[in-house]
């Protein structure tokens, strides 16, 4: 039989189809399911009221992350509703025998950091979670996407989802990143180019020669941001970097089982000649550090550029969005990005809270101080293990000596469901993923940047080009 060349996405999809309905809906099997406190209470209640049981108990893992405090943990959660939500997760996990990582466990953290870190995300598996940034896990060659609350209940009860195959988009990355430029900048540049709806209905596969040089963590940042271009799935094919990352992690097979798995994982690449519905080519050598200036991630400029005049942005709808964004952000067209002054700095989130992110920020901060005009600078490691690793490397001292607060892991100021949030009108250099109105607190103003850019902004009190901080070419 002549094999038809398939994309990685199609291979993963095909391997998980239980049955197909006429018209394009498939029943898809879910291998791994992550749960958190905000989108799981209703599904467990649903199981109780219908008398349904978990289809497969060992497929799930629960970690509270969205509204856990990042400081004074021993005192518990102050907000009663948030506290009840986390308690409900713990109670449900116990009642339904779902493994759970409690807040006080050193492994606790943001699901999209913890899952890969523990080896619970494996190539060739389907991974879902009631959170849109589940796309992150695609960096390991997994079919991973965010789902709603009703779907969480369906996965608990059936280990399946009714779903439609997406179209495919290849984002082909060539060249070499300049020192001081990171995959966060690549993601923002891509979104700026294709728009926040540019990949809606598609699964993005990040491909091309630039990828090989990037760590799994750097790839996770890219796949994490796929959803900000509208793609529920972001993918990177398996290579040696993936295999090396996985080896020895708690959830990963060992010994002969690992070698057998690794051999199968290496097949998880798009076939030569496989056709994508859309291809976008980007030379990453030309990308400068990015700063968003609006209330959508695609309203973005290079740090050495100016905020554009809305009239130059093309269609009427686009102009209206830009005007409204400038109004909300209290910014004027023509202002150089480097003259935007900030009130607070947030380094964290499932996009940028891993050890390499903290190292990059610490490199910038070494021997320097946060500007007096900056009211608060926060570092929130993505997991307890990231925090411990950073402390072993002495990074925490660099943050603390620079004037940052060194916090406990969680989603924190990315979603501002705990006490970490901006006051109305405050402006933040943030390593998170969404600059939507009110995202970091009612009236908050968010500028999305890389961890290095956030650190440089903390020192200067405004955005600056971080490239001079990285004079040596990175490997």
């Amino acid at each position: 039989m002549q094999p038809f060349p398939r994309t990685l996405y199609d291979k993963l999809w095909d391997a998980h189809v239980v049955r197909s309905e006429p018209g394009g809906t498939d029943l898809i099997y879910v291998d791994r399911h992550f749960l958190h406190e905000v989108t799981s209470a209703q599904p467990f209640d649903g199981l109780r009221s219908t008398g349904r049981k978990l289809w497969r108990e060992t497929a799930h893992i629960a970690v509270p992350d969205h509204n856990v405090p990042t400081v004074h943990r021993a005192a518990g959660i102050r907000d009663e509703r948030s506290r009840r939500q986390v308690e409900t997760l713990m109670h449900n996990a116990a009642a339904f025998k779902v493994p759970v990582i409690p807040v006080h466990d050193v492994r606790q953290g943001i699901l999209h950091v913890v899952g890969p870190e523990q080896g619970w995300t494996l190539p060739g598996t389907s991974v879902v979670c009631g959170d849109s940034h589940t796309s992150t896990h695609g960096a390991l060659g997994a079919l991973a996407f965010g789902i709603g609350i009703s779907e969480v209940e369906m996965v608990l009860a059936t280990q399946c989802l009714w779903s439609r195959r997406g179209r495919t988009m290849a984002v082909r990355l060539t060249g070499t990143l300049q020192p001081g430029v990171f995959t966060k900048d690549v993601a923002l540049h891509l979104i700026g180019r294709i728009g926040v709806g540019g990949a809606t209905g598609h699964a993005i596969e990040f491909t091309g020669p630039a990828i090989a040089a990037w760590s799994v963590e750097a790839r996770m940042t890219l796949c994490n941001m796929a959803i900000e271009a509208g793609a529920t799935v972001g993918l990177v094919a398996v290579d040696d970097v993936t295999i090396d990352y996985l080896r020895g992690r708690p959830g990963v097979p060992r010994g002969d089982a690992f070698e057998a798995a690794a051999a199968a994982w290496r097949e998880l690449v798009s076939d030569e000649g496989a056709a994508y519905d859309r291809v976008v080519d980007i030379d990453v050598s030309a990308i400068a550090p990015q700063v968003t200036w609006g209330t959508l991630p695609d309203l973005v400029v290079s740090v050495d550029d100016r905020i554009p005049a809305p009239e130059t942005l093309g269609a009427e709808d686009r102009i209206a969005i830009a005007k409204s964004a400038l109004d909300y952000m209290a910014l004027a067209p023509g202002l150089p990005a480097s003259q935007i002054r900030i009130d607070k700095v947030f380094i964290g989130s499932c996009t940028n809270s891993r050890i390499e992110d903290l190292r990059a920020a610490a490199t910038v901060l070494r021997g320097r101080r946060v500007a007096p005009s900056v009211k608060l600078a926060l570092v929130v490691p993505g997991s307890g293990l990231v925090k411990r690793q950073a402390e072993a490397e002495g990074l925490h001292r660099q943050f603390i000596e620079a004037g940052f607060e060194w916090r406990d892991p969680g989603c924190s100021m990315c979603v501002a469901m705990n006490d970490d949030r901006l006051a109305p009108g405050e402006r933040c250099a943030s390593t998170s993923n969404r600059n939507f109105e009110g995202r970091q607190g009612a009236g908050s103003r968010t500028h999305l940047v890389s961890p290095a850019m956030a650190a440089a902004a903390a020192i200067a009190g405004h955005f600056v080009d971080v490239r001079p901080y990285f004079p040596e070419a990175r490997t």
Partner: protein, 221 residues
């Protein structure tokens, strides 16, 4: 879910692209463990001039008179007319819950965020895609006070009170689920044998996917 065949009523326009689910249902209202109580907080930051707290009595709020949903001419609207990429961003199902509990039964737009559209359909909120030109025409028509619409799921048509008819595409599986009020989970469980068969084959082809997750003993912080 009860079967759905038609949605009829007044149309309210929201002329803005890329309305994200954070705007539809801000995060401070997601700390509930219930499926209800979200209608009062729909578009909270846009619909009100004050900052709302979860569970706050709507009578104590200060409505923003400029926001379409607050304007007298759109009171009781059942159909929301929207622009491209409606419901992008966060996967929160609280967004379609809020729309439904407020009284919206259908959203018409040129495109939707993928996860939002899924969540909407699962709750019987019709997320209907029309061509951009058709949406433009409807934004024009809605300038005339009192424009209403009838959406017929069976015929896959939107008929406006100015006698224009628009056809829309929809997945036959979704259509059947809505018309028959099918339960997604029940439908899948009817194929339990196939799920088991897939599982057995998958345990051979990707055994690593079936390694149980061990939370193990709690580590020390």
């Amino acid at each position: 879910m009860s079967p759905i065949h038609t949605v009829c009523g007044l149309v309210v326009p929201l002329d803005r692209e890329n309305i994200d689910t954070d705007a539809i249902m801000p995060k401070q209202f997601l700390t509930s463990t219930s499926r209800t109580g979200y209608g009062a907080h729909l578009f909270d930051a846009w619909r009100f001039l004050d900052t709302g707290a979860p569970g706050q009595d709507p009578a104590t709020r200060i409505p923003n008179p400029d926001f379409p949903l607050n304007q007298p001419r759109y009171q009781g609207a059942r159909v929301l007319l929207a622009r491209d990429n409606f419901g992008c961003g966060s996967s929160r199902e609280h967004a379609p819950w809020g729309l439904l509990q407020f009284g919206i039964g259908a959203v018409l737009a040129p495109s939707f965020g993928d996860i939002f559209a899924n969540n909407a359909w699962k709750n019987g909120l019709l997320a209907i895609r029309l061509e951009p030109a058709q949406i433009d025409a409807l934004f024009g028509a809605v300038a005339t006070p009192g424009l209403s619409m009838s959406i017929d799921l069976g015929a896959q048509t939107v008929t406006s009170s100015d006698h224009r008819v628009y056809r829309f595409e929809m997945d036959p599986f979704r259509k059947r689920c809505l018309q028959q009020g099918e339960d997604d989970i029940g439908l899948a469980l009817a194929h339990a044998l196939e799920i088991h068969r897939h599982e057995e084959a998958a345990q051979r082809s990707r055994p690593w996917a079936f390694m149980p997750v061990h939370a193990g003993r709690a580590g020390s912080p």
